[in-house]
Symmetry: C2
Subunit: 254 residues, 2 copies
């Protein structure tokens, strides 16, 4: 695996193409990474695969790269969305970073009754997703959406996409030691039946879904519950665990 | 599930037992959580299960609780160790927190050739593990060990415990698009053969294991490689993903 710096660029990539960098990318490459003219860099734009390039102009504010050969053709991540109820800022950002690493195509914040924070800076999410994609070797960025209300989202839902929901902070006593009132009993089994289907993982807020929300989710044919074990996971852990399980059973970890 | 505050206490718990709190726990319970005399609290000590208690003396520095009834008998997490090459402080702490949430029994930092940071504050790790255990409803704390060198660890190894290693940052080109030179091809398959065996997950440093380390690991019968997919995960993500997979295949998520 190459250790050359890797940048996402929103510009065409191709043989001989000159690629001017933004001020931020120029600063990163020339000042932080200390690259000079002739040094190798890798580029991707979400459309044209990954390209090998070299620094043509090592300017600290307006560097220019020269695109040379394609390393890999474009490839998509699996058709998986992440829908999560926003938590605190730092944790939201961790969720966006990890979802990008774990190969999510679409990130959709969802406002539930108990969601504590609705203020999100989508521009920060975009920067975090770009950096995570650069580091994780994926060839595209996840699409990041504005937050929507859970009810609205369910009303507009295309039923061809299954929703897999994890209700970590459920207050219905549905823990192994508290009786079982409908909580999914295991993680892997239910997922094997969802292979080959577009999917969306839904992670509830720290306070859990309300009983009404849970009833509504359970009443819908395209919604399936998955268990994340007997301990209670924080929201960001639940996101990473659920994405891991989906990728290994239904995604591209096979 | 109860929303009563939950504290780990290193003291005997039993019917009618008075439990004096440390200064830190007193501050947390009385000042931060604003509990008063008579308010319910849950306690665990890693030996006597979880107990329901009430605040007997709401002192801000020296609170005392009265233990009443046992909520749950003592139960252990699965016999799983986490061995990880330390990374940056914040990420090490995230690793300890998540390993605790995900039900690891033992946490062992391992120094490899490319480990960048060997300075760790085990006292900080202890505090983080305590808080995570309190929140995650487990009944014990993970045991946190001093760092050991990878070579020494392998020499002293009890071969009854399998080592499952994830080499995310491998530099041997062992990625789907870079040819395969021995990298595990999938995650779940190899794990199913390790059910019922004590296990230790080994996560390499950000720079990956060296070729020599990798050769040594591969030469040992009790060491098995597991893939965490085609994208490259940061160390802390690899920890969470690997723990998730082990818990769902071999642990108590079934």
């Amino acid at each position: 695996m190459s250790n050359d710096p890797r940048l996402f660029i929103d510009a065409p990539l191709g043989n001989g193409q000159a690629v001017p960098l933004s001020r931020e990318d120029s600063h990163y490459l020339i000042n932080v990474m200390r690259r000079d003219e002739g040094d190798p860099v890798r580029l991707f734009n979400g459309r044209d695969g990954e390209w090998q390039a070299t620094v043509a102009k090592a300017h600290k504010k307006n560097a220019v790269l020269a695109c040379e050969t394609q390393n890999r053709p474009q490839a998509a991540v699996p058709d998986l969305w992440l829908m999560f109820a926003p938590v605190k800022r730092q944790k939201n950002e961790l969720i966006v970073e990890k979802a990008t690493e774990l190969g999510v195509a679409d990130i959709r914040p969802v406002i539930t009754t108990r969601t504590q924070s609705e203020r999100m800076r989508l521009d920060r999410f975009e920067i975090i997703a770009k950096e995570a994609a650069e580091q994780t070797e994926r060839l595209d960025l996840p699409v990041i959406h504005e937050a929507v209300k859970l009810d609205q989202m369910l009303e507009d839902w295309d039923e061809n996409r299954v929703i897999i929901y994890c209700d970590e902070a459920g207050d219905d006593g549905a823990r192994p030691w508290g009786g079982d009132t409908g909580r999914a009993s295991q993680a892997l089994g239910p997922l094997t039946e969802m292979r080959g289907k577009p999917a969306a993982l839904l992670i509830g807020p720290e306070g859990g879904f309300t009983p009404e929300e849970r009833d509504r989710l359970r009443s819908l044919d395209f919604v399936h519950a998955v268990s994340l074990g007997p301990r209670i996971l924080r929201a960001e852990t639940a996101v990473i665990s659920a994405l891991t399980l989906w990728q290994s059973v239904c995604g591209d970890w096979g």
